[in-house]
Amino acid sequence: MKTARVSTLPSSASPGAFYAAAPKIYPREINGRFTRLRKAAVVVLLGLFYGLAWLNWNGHQALLFDLPARKFHIFGLTLWPQDFLYLALLLIIAALSLFFFTALAGRLWCGYACPQTVWTELFVWIEQWTEGQRLQRMKLDRAPWTASKLLRKGSKHLLWLALALFTGFTFVGYFMPIRSLGAQIAMLSLGPWPSFWIFLYAFATYGNAGFLREQVCKYMCPYARFQSAMFDADTLVISYDEKRGEPRGARRRGSAARSLGLGDCIDCTMCVQACPTGIDIRHGLQYECIACGACIDACDDVMDKMGTARGLIRYTTEHALHGERTRIVRTRLVVYAALISTALGALGFLLLTRVPLILDVIRDRNALYREVHGARIENAYTLKMINLDDGPHRYRLTADGMPGLQLIAPAGEISLPPGSVNTLAARLEAPGEIAGGVHHIVLTLAAIDGSGVVVHENTRFIGPTP
């Protein structure tokens, strides 16, 4: 890991800070480009989370990881536990994408998309609404308990709890049908396990977004510690322009900074007050920085007021800061992109060639063969068929692989409702004079409703040793 560039030690001056009680952080509310972007991300992502659970598709919930039924519905696609490979590939693609975007533009995930960030943002909105702005919140926390404080704090926690419980309900609604889950709650007939999961997720949301907040990123998140391994000198990071800002110091508006021997930083500490993790970006890149851009917005605002150019704190690269050229296309990114494309290609190929039908053939264990009708040999099998598709299908079974082989049962067509398992006894016959020994044969189950679904299964036909 490149610990030289991004320190993984606590940034505070005292090495014991890791064990000391850290002060509560009251992030200052700000406005600007990146704040608007983050708010948009919160609305879109939480909108998807709370909304998608209610979307139906072909008569069933569009996105349902139905654990009680052990079936995953993803829009038109139904995946079974046998299809675990797809899920594994999806997870690999997600991880590689995270690496790719981190190498390209730093901690985009942390700043805009991580559930911790997104729900914290939502909880902070509620906090601002009930307790007021930063200074009001600080004052309220110091103030003695009065009816007004009780009302403000109480309503905040009530809203938080309601939101957390609804979040837990929605979360569980992705693992069992959300409409029946809602009906069970309405009738107070919810089983113990769904209730347990709802309360666990609600508790985690309430605790993580309400209380732990930046501490999850600072003390609990493994990604925060190893993301620097994806960084290089061409990665977009949020950085304070030290050359332009220093020496920092207060000055009158409109005064010529350079003639006073000062840089552009007026040391107003707005960037520190705005920071949700409570760091000072002017100390350089730190692993606590979740790259939310709040300090950029705060500083741009101040620069506007001072009449100086924006960008004292900005998205830039280490190369750009040192006046060198930034290369966007570089080996690291090309390798990540190639790996993502390969995994996507594999996933696409597997999905396109996936046959939504399983045929298992088990030979009869009691007898190798039976002599019937005088000179004919019969073999018996047990067939297990699973229709993995979303709709019903009709199939016909055929047997090939040796001359004179005849399918006795099941002779007619076989109907399977969607997602159903059927176990059938099958019998094959062959003339005695050609049936001696072991023959390798193929059973084929093919849809006769024009859907083109077909599977082949190899098995053996055994006759008396010649």
């Binding site: 090495p15 014991g16 654990l67 536990p81 675990f84 113990p192 396990w193 003390y219 609990m220």
Partner: protein
């Protein structure tokens, strides 16, 4: 905000939680809890599928938590200071 004790609790419960999520995913992708009920030892008789998932997850979490707790305990009670601790810092 985290005190030493609070941090220790987080260091025990959190990594084991992540490990339990992964373990449950892998285990239950291959094993249907209903199979434990139908074909497993008597211990699992009457086990509902939903209960199976939850108990499996809690079991993995508990095992992970024990491992984490031993790790934290060993680090906290070590005589030699870890390399990144300042020599003059009180223990």
């Amino acid at each position: 905000m985290p005190s030493v004790r609070g941090l220790d609790v987080a260091l025990v419960l959190w990594p084991s939680f992540l490990a339990a999520c992964g373990a449950s995913l892998l285990f239950f992708a291959a094993v249907d809890p209903a199979l434990l009920r139908d074909a497993g030892p008597r211990l699992f008789a009457g086990l509902e599928r939903e209960a199976g998932y939850a108990l499996g997850f809690l079991f993995f979490w508990a095992v992970g938590a024990v491992a984490s707790a031993i790790s934290v305990y060993l680090i906290r009670t070590a005589r030699a200071p870890p390399a990144d601790r300042a020599p003059d810092e009180p223990r």
